[in-house]
């Protein structure tokens, strides 16, 4: 119920968008997100985009975590 997954927006037909979840495409509602653009990542919960997700964090996962570890004293 609180599950949400991250996908990439492929096309927009307001209030819907087609979102790609690692190859599986789904139509989701995007009414709750301001200024959504194709190519951005969203967190989807029960058929709803609930928040945009920073694409840099999704695409550069390892590099970011290495920096986090190094930053901890």
């Amino acid at each position: 119920m609180c599950l949400a997954i991250i996908g990439k927006v492929e096309s927009i037909e307001y209030p819907f968008a087609t979102v790609n979840f690692k190859g599986t495409k789904k139509k989701v509602r995007i009414d709750l997100i301001e200024d959504l653009k194709i190519g951005e990542y969203v967190l989807v919960h029960v058929g709803f985009a609930i928040q945009k997700v920073d694409s840099r964090e999704v695409e550069q996962y390892n590099e970011i975590w290495e920096n986090v570890i190094n930053s901890l004293q």
Partner: protein, 351 residues
């Protein structure tokens, strides 16, 4: 690479917790329990740090009274009932919504409330959606109500989660810090927790996120910093999703509602406002509910879901765990829902 990061963080937690008193950290989301159990993160915790599971499963915290009311409705009114899959399996006196479906009642499992709206558009019967979930889910229910489909109604079992944190703090369970629920937080934002006086970290759902949250909490507990940190910056902002908050607050108001395990939690109930009562199943079918009486389920007397939800016991301490009560034949909701702690421990081998 991932295991290297996780082990690095485990070493840092160990070092930080070295020499301090015994501490208890509670997470508040079924998905966090899944991550912790799946990656066996409890085995990486120092001996003086206990990682507890809290009331973060929306199916589990719904009291039997709500479920009985929905059973009463479908037994006495000619309606189509829609709900999410996990909710349909929760038993009361040995019956579940799937039982009523097998007896010919129109119970339909939906993935999204908008599937329920589509069912309503195609049906000439009243369609009632059994709405469950915290702030993560409430905006979608609010939008569905605002869509204004005339034969579509909601039986709201929605609960605002943030008041439950205050409730836990005022109870006798001694918790030193919370891992706040990531997805609820995408909606409510960091600001929702600022007045809660205890160390908190909003965390994502990768094992690295949870380990980093624990590390930060140990530091905060040591330093007496009653602040909220946002580890899940990739999805959670300070303000949260303001548009979602607006639609949620437009449709729902807060009442003091009961939670399984926690009892009545002040301002936690997601009651549909009077302005939208034409979509509120409780109002529309009030005649049917007028003779409804709450009962106790004798089959659940030995179930300790309430204590599991408060972090007082672990599933293994329930005598029914994985014996009488298992994922195929659940006794309590914590064994039904994939986000329930008992279900997660039974499937993934928690300890």
């Amino acid at each position: 690479m991932r295991s290297k990061i996780i082990f690095e963080l485990a070493k840092k937690i160990e070092k930080e917790a070295n020499g301090i008193r015994d501490i208890k950290i509670m997470h508040l989301c079924g998905t966090h329990e899944d991550t912790i159990t799946r990656y066996n993160l409890r085995s990486l915790m120092p001996k003086n740090l206990k990682l507890l599971s809290g009331p973060g499963c929306p199916v589990c915290i719904i009291p039997d009274a709500d479920l009985q009311a929905v059973f009463h409705l479908i037994e006495n009114a000619n309606v189509v009932l829609t709900t999410f899959g996990d909710m349909a399996r929760v038993p009361f006196e040995g019956k579940s919504l799937f039982y009523f479906k097998s007896k010919g009642c129109e119970v339909k499992i939906v993935y999204s409330i908008f599937d329920a709206l589509e069912i309503a558009k195609r049906s000439d019967k009243p369609v009632v959606h059994f709405g469950i979930g915290f702030e993560t889910t409430m905006p979608s229910t609010a939008l569905a109500i605002l869509d204004g489909i005339e034969n579509f109604y909601v039986f709201s079992s929605h609960r605002f989660f943030v008041p439950a944190i205050n409730h836990l703090l005022s109870s006798n369970i001694k918790i030193d810090g919370f891992i706040n629920p990531g997805h609820v937080s995408t909606i409510v934002g960091v600001k929702a927790y600022e007045k809660i006086e205890i160390p908190q970290v909003i965390a994502g759902f990768e094992p690295e996120d949870v380990m980093l949250a624990v590390y930060q909490l140990v530091k905060s507990i040591k330093n007496g910093e009653n602040k909220v940190f946002n580890e899940y910056k990739r999805a959670v902002t300070y303000e949260g999703n303001v548009k979602a908050q607006m639609v949620m607050n437009e449709v729902f108001e807060r009442e003091n509602w009961d939670w399984r395990g926690l009892g009545v939690v002040k301002d936690s109930g997601g009651k549909i406002r009077k302005k939208y009562e034409e979509y509120d199943a409780l109002k529309v079918f009030e005649d049917i509910f007028s003779n409804f009486e709450i009962k106790e389920d004798p089959k659940k007397r030995a179930c300790r879901c309430g204590d599991v939800l408060k972090g007082l016991i672990e599933p293994l301490e329930c005598p029914l765990f994985n014996k009488v009560c298992n994922p195929k034949n659940p006794v309590g909701p914590c064994m039904v829902s994939v986000e329930g702690t008992c279900n997660i421990w039974a499937r993934l081998g928690g300890c």
